[in-house]
């Protein structure tokens, strides 16, 4: 009954979305307030209805209702509660319901908190948002219905893939989706602006918080995914340039560019049509990501042909939205005229460089990810594009970008001189030189590129610090005055400093773990020891442990350093009888500056157990940096300028310094 109610709610949501798509748009064109007023309640109703459908599905998973085909395929009574919950989106159909749930949530938020938007813009934004909703609700109902019943109902389900039974991974998809789908807001704003033929400073100011609201969970989602890969896949890496990872990185890169170009559009009235284009691309790449992952085209073009209905449906949605948006852009963008002067050496000039490099980096990832498919589709040779390609194309684009990050915020709008900026960055420059010398001294044999990498990371971190220090006059000697200024500094400025500094911390982590990872691959008999990075690892014993729905082989490894016990580490290898799969659980001991990472393997037939251990320098910084970046986004989001809404010229002039 509840299941049917959910199904019905989803159908009704489609009907409401159709209404929300058509009526407010007509109202906005005719300037009819009554028709435009339909948008907000419809958006809220759509969210409530999809919420009911989602809750019904959740209920089916929680009660292990195996009469629902989806639950039977993806759940099991013995599964812990958290994975019954996560099981809802741990499959194609359920994840699409989550997708539209988040989509409608953003729509409802605009309806509820978008009171300061002009009526016409709000009606059009919600109408475009509903158009996306219609496409995906239709997709779910016609090709991926999660509510299909089984008769007779089986007694037990198939269980969830053990790989997905992991706390970080359980909540990785909701974050990623909140980011992907959140970019639909920027897209809807862009389309609405194109239809209106008007982009002004206030438009850019409205788009930024919505983009930021998508960027934050996307950052968290990517960091979570990378962290999960690090500790689960059992080979200690953190980023594999896997097409699925790339699918999330591309929208992130473009969204990051969009955040920065929207500042220029807001403050200087230039780059408007470019900002619109970025908003279109950011969401388009989210759709491409959805297509790549959902269609099966990634594994092979031929796999796509095996079950084409879903893939083709998403491809049609993709072509419709991207093609439609770009056509509209080509038609309407010339209407958006740029205003104002533009000097290369200025804040806006630096932000253009940021956009150029981020867009080229996104292009590199896009080309690298899709080129094998493209060649295969046109009958060319089969090739693989792996990490070496991205290291040779993506990384060279990031280095100049990172060099520019601390400089940009110190340049003035309109026209700036490098001398003043470089004086403010003197402190950061000194820090860079000290770090490079220190690294070279400590790792005299080590790769010299690593010293430069650490220098770059220092440049980012110290640059963020000295930028804030300069703004609050930290070195002027008057601490009380600095404190007062710090309190008055806009939240967006703090957010920017956090995000840029967090980037530096992540870069330090990436460089550190790549350059100085130490590895030990050995087979130990119980009682034997091996050395790694100054630690002695002794295999004390190997035993078995019963988990809720698995059996685990546990290695007990005593870790000592100079004779003193540091830790006892317990790497596991879990076997899931229901799913008939195995999964490793690495034991990780972190000091905050490095990780000791141990994985246990099979018995080698001579009484020895295979052990792989890594000493990963600075590895925790990668994700800490990502989280600090996301925190910066949240801080920036709380800036009062966004709550005020429409820009008030007098007030924005008073607000000390332009933010970010």
């Amino acid at each position: 009954m509840i299941v049917e109610l959910g199904h019905f709610a989803l159908v009704l949501a489609l009907a409401v979305a159709l209404l929300q798509m058509v009526v407010p748009m007509i109202g906005a064109q005719r300037r009819d307030p009554a028709l435009m007023a339909v948008a907000a309640p419809a958006a809220v109703a759509q969210f409530v209805l999809i919420g009911i459908a989602f809750a019904a599905l959740m209920h089916a998973f929680l009660t292990s209702d195996f009469s629902v085909a989806l639950v039977m395929k993806n759940s099991h009574t013995a599964k812990p509660l958290i994975y019954k919950i996560a099981g809802v989106w741990g499959n194609h159909e359920g994840s699409m319901v989550l997708w539209v749930l988040i989509l409608s949530l953003y729509g409802a938020l605009v309806a509820l908190f978008g009171g300061n938007l002009p009526d016409g813009l709000r009606a059009r934004v919600l109408s475009v948002q509903a158009l996306i909703g219609v496409a995906f609700l239709g997709f779910i109902l016609f090709t991926s219905n999660p509510f299909i019943r089984l008769d007779p109902a089986p007694i037990e389900g198939n269980g969830l893939n053990p790989i997905l039974q992991d706390p970080a991974l359980a909540f990785h998809p909701p974050f990623l989706y909140a980011g992907y789908v959140g970019l639909s807001m920027a897209f809807s704003f862009a389309i609405a602006a194109l239809i209106e033929g008007r982009v002004d400073a206030s438009w850019a100011r409205w788009v930024r918080p919505w983009t930021l609201a998508a960027w934050v969970p996307l950052t968290v989602g990517i960091a979570m995914g990378s962290w999960w890969a690090y500790y689960t896949l059992g080979w200690g890496g953190f980023w594999f340039w896997d097409p699925v990872e790339n699918a999330s990185l591309m929208p992130w890169l473009v969204a990051t560019a969009l955040l920065h170009s929207a500042i220029v559009a807001e403050k200087r009235g230039v780059l408007k049509s470019w900002t619109i284009l970025l908003a279109i691309f950011a969401f388009s790449l989210s759709l491409v990501g959805t297509f790549l992952v959902r269609s099966g085209v990634l594994t092979s073009v031929h796999a796509f042909a095996v079950d084409p209905s879903r893939g083709i449906a998403i491809l049609c949605i993709l072509v419709f939205f991207i093609g439609g948006a770009l056509t509209l852009y080509g038609w309407r963008a010339p209407v958006l005229k740029a205003e104002g002067l533009f000097a290369p050496l200025s804040r806006e000039g630096a932000l253009v460089m940021n956009n150029l490099l981020l867009a080229a980096a996104a292009a590199a990832v896009f080309i690298g990810t899709l080129y094998p498919l493209f060649l295969d589709a046109i009958g060319g040779p089969k090739i693989t594009v792996g990490a070496p390609f991205f290291n040779m194309t993506f990384v060279p684009l990031m280095i100049p970008l990172f060099c520019l990050v601390p400089i940009g915020p110190l340049l003035k709008w309109k026209r700036s001189d490098l001398v003043a900026a470089s004086e403010r960055l003197m402190g950061a420059g000194v820090a860079v030189i000290i770090v490079i010398i220190a690294v070279l001294a400590f790792h005299s044999r080590g790769p010299w590129l690593a010293a430069l990498g650490m220098g770059l990371a220092t440049w980012l971190i110290a640059g963020a610090f000295f930028e804030v220090a300069w703004r609050i006059g930290l070195f002027s000697g008057n601490i009380r005055e600095s404190f007062r200024r710090a309190l008055r500094l806009p939240r967006a400025s703090w957010g920017m400093a956090l995000a840029h500094g967090g980037l530096g911390i992540a870069v330090a982590g990436i460089v550190g773990t790549t350059a100085w990872r130490q590895e030990l691959v050995t087979a130990l008999k119980v009682g034997d020891s091996a050395e790694l990075a100054g630690y002695t690892l002794t295999l004390e014993k190997v035993g078995m442990r019963n988990g809720p729905n698995y059996e685990a082989l546990v290695g007990v490894i005593r870790v000592t350093r100079e004779g003193r016990e540091v830790a006892v580490m317990l790497p596991e290898k879990r076997s899931f009888p229901v799913e008939r799969q195995e999964k490793t659980e690495a034991a990780i001991r972190t000091t905050g500056f490095s990780d000791l990472y141990i994985v246990i393997g099979d018995e080698n037939g001579q009484g020895g157990w295979t052990l792989r251990a890594y000493y990963n320098n600075l590895a925790p910084w990668i994700w800490a940096g990502g989280m600090i970046m996301a925190a910066g986004g949240i801080v920036s989001l709380t800036d009062r300028r966004y709550r005020i809404g429409a820009p008030n010229r007098a007030r924005s002039r008073l607000a000390a310094q332009p933010a970010e």
């Binding site: 080229a360 292009a363 090739i383 999964k583 080698n604 792989r612």
Partner: protein
């Protein structure tokens, strides 16, 4: 989303052993180091974008063994790669070869950068020549109103 694909991949090589078993390693650390470096350039054919150094699939294991055999037999790094490409095709290389079919791939990112730089340059040049924008009638009226109000 990546989750699902990775989980599919894991299905392919269900069972979790690890890359490079201790038994596979060469005694000579220099040769072993070379083998590891070469392994990072080779794709495990049944996995997705994973190098044979990272993968635990049987095929990756076989390839790792072949790499080490060739090294012990005295091949140079390039000869080892050529040997494996001759058997498995370019598909096995994680770094695609530079040939007409991949020109677009290798030049693409930098082409994108150049095109972008060209557009940026034209924007900047136009901006330099540009003059302060004229207000349209509506904006003028608004400005007047604002000025009136502030007085």
């Amino acid at each position: 989303m990546r989750v699902l694909v990775i989980s599919l991949l894991m299905l392919v090589f269900a069972g979790a052993a690890y890359a490079v078993d201790p038994g596979e390693q060469l005694k000579d650390p220099v040769l072993e180091g070379r083998a590891r470096e070469i392994s990072k350039e080779l794709r495990c054919l049944v996995c997705q974008n994973q190098s044979i150094d990272d993968s635990n699939a049987d095929l990756a294991k076989d390839l790792r063994r072949i790499v080490r055999e060739r090294i012990v037999a005295g091949d140079t790094d390039q000869q080892v790669l050529d040997y494996i490409v001759a058997r498995y095709g370019d598909f096995v290389l994680l770094k695609p070869p530079f040939e007409p079919a991949t020109w677009l791939l290798w030049f693409g990112p930098f082409l994108a950068l150049l095109v972008g730089a060209g557009i940026a340059w034209s924007v900047i040049r136009r901006g330099r020549e540009g003059v302060a924008p004229a207000l349209n009638a509506e904006e003028k009226a608004r400005l007047e109103k604002l000025l009136d109000r502030s007085e």
